[in-house]
């Protein structure tokens, strides 16, 4: 397959970026999107040019490292997958593919297609955990209703990729924060700190320059793990009750 790639190139965080156009040929339909970029980079290196910087790690859809806004969609044209799970057979031969970094004030571009998602780590550090003192108890000693466990696991499947922020017209991190708050609030171990957690994480999210939620549902449409806005409703509930108790 043959493609024309329009790729965002930016030297560093301060530089002004622009699109570069590259032609690429001889790509098998079974090549993954990131492998296609590897081939492009190999060609660039051979030509003595600077390769394109992009994030990736596990390449099996579980780490949340890969990103990329491809032809107007986070993680490209397929539903509920990460960019590393996207294959070139999803495109037509001869397509022009525009590749942009995640765009949001809270995720500044570091280089080319790489953005700094450290803001997510800071939100997690603010309260996205369970404080355990002493010996870790055996997980199976506390019975948990299946429905609660399921809901918790659905939310826990968030891999922190940031597609929700990238897609949201407000650059809001509500789906990410909701996934954390919801997955822990549904379990007895996480319940104890639920009120403090919701308040601390929302305060951090607001402080770091993420936008607020307009309920457009764009985040859940692009989330590779199918986290739904029902979790945002729970976050709103947890947060408002916590504030009312104060």
């Amino acid at each position: 397959m043959k493609f024309t790639l329009k790729v965002w190139r930016q030297k560093n965080a301060k530089a002004k970026g622009r699109f570069e156009t590259y032609k690429i040929d001889g790509i098998s339909p079974d090549t993954s999107f990131l492998e296609m970029l590897d081939i492009l980079n190999n060609n660039l290196i051979v030509e003595g040019k600077e390769p394109v910087a992009f994030d990736h790690d596990c390449r099996e859809g579980i780490c949340g490292m890969c990103s990329l806004y491809i032809n107007g969609r986070a993680h490209g044209p397929d539903d509920e997958i990460t960019t590393c799970q996207l294959h070139m057979r999803k495109f037509k031969d001869g397509d022009t593919i525009t590749i942009e970094p995640w765009r949001s004030a809270a995720f500044p571009v570091v280089k080319d297609l790489v953005v700094n998602r450290n803001a997510f780590d800071q939100i997690l550090q603010a309260g996205g955990f369970i404080s355990v003192g002493g010996v870790v108890p055996d997980a199976n000693t506390i019975p948990i209703p299946k429905k609660d466990a399921d809901e918790s696991m659905d939310a826990a499947s968030c891999i922190g990729c940031g597609a929700c922020v990238a897609t949201c017209k407000n650059g809001s991190a509500m789906l990410f924060v909701a996934a954390r708050v919801s997955s822990l609030a549904k379990l007895p171990q996480g319940r104890a700190e639920a009120a403090r957690r919701a308040q601390a994480m929302v305060a951090k999210m607001d402080e770091l320059g993420f936008g607020a939620c307009s309920n457009t549902q764009a985040c859940e449409a692009e989330c590779p793990k199918g986290v739904t806005i029902a979790h945002i409703a729970r976050l709103n509930r947890e947060f408002l009750f916590a504030k009312l108790e104060n």
């Binding site: 032809n71 107007g72 969609r73 765009r103 949001s104 897609t167 320059g209 307009s214 029902a230």
Partner: protein, 220 residues
């Protein structure tokens, strides 16, 4: 309390509560308007009831406050959101994400359209009726005002455009308000979205039926 009001979710709570209050007002206002179709006498009766009832007198400033709070918080909320995704950071390829309603992305623009026509509505009705009464002068005859305005086709068109903006604002706002307060989950979300469609349709058909009936001469 202040930490609640200045948090993103707290601001949205205020927008939701004031928005729900305005939704109730829209339905009540519609009921009053519809009496104009039954005949001048009924309409005049309702108008004089509204003029003299003490509860209405109390509710008028509350309503104004509801509008002001909704508009101020909604504007502040929007400005903060623009800062989180500045224009310079927009994507070269416009988003192609499916399943995002047009209304949900344009609530602010719709709101501004609603304000624009609201001011016009004030000049046409409120300034000639309630304001005159307040100043101790003779009030314009309400029914005559209605007949006059709705006999002009272009006024009817402007009015219907206004109701369209309200329709889309309500279509998203109705369920969005419940979601923002936290009164929603996987089961209730589709139901709330259905109620929103029904409520918005009732508001739209109700309000639009008045100019349409007057234009077609279907009123008593």
């Amino acid at each position: 309390m202040t930490s609640l009001l200045f948090s993103s979710i707290g601001k949205k709570l205020i927008i939701s509560l004031s928005g729900l209050f305005l939704l109730i007002f829209l339905a009540l206002h519609l009921l009053l308007n519809l009496t104009a179709l039954i005949g001048p006498d009924h309409y005049e009766n309702v108008c004089s009831f509204m003029d003299t009832n003490p509860l209405v007198k109390v509710m008028v400033p509350v309503l104004a406050l509801g509008f002001i709070i909704h508009i101020l918080f909604a504007s502040y909320f929007e400005f903060k959101n623009w800062a989180a995704r500045p224009r310079a950071m927009s994507y070269a390829v416009p988003t192609t994400t499916k399943g995002v309603s047009w209304a949900s992305k344009n609530m602010f623009v719709l709101g501004v359209i609603v304000i624009g026509f609201l001011l016009m509505h004030f000049c046409h009705f409120w300034a000639k009726m309630q304001l005159q009464g307040f100043l101790g002068r003779e009030e314009a005859n309400a029914y005559e005002l209605v007949v006059n305005l709705f006999s002009k086709w272009y006024y009817c068109v402007i009015y219907i455009v206004w109701i369209c903006a309200i329709y889309f604002h309500v279509l998203h706002g109705f369920w969005s308000a419940f979601q923002s307060i936290g009164l929603s989950n996987a089961n209730w979300l589709p139901r709330l979205q259905l109620f929103a469609k029904i409520y918005a349709a009732v508001i739209f058909i109700g309000y639009v039926s008045i100019p349409v009936c007057f234009l077609l001469g279907w009123h008593k």
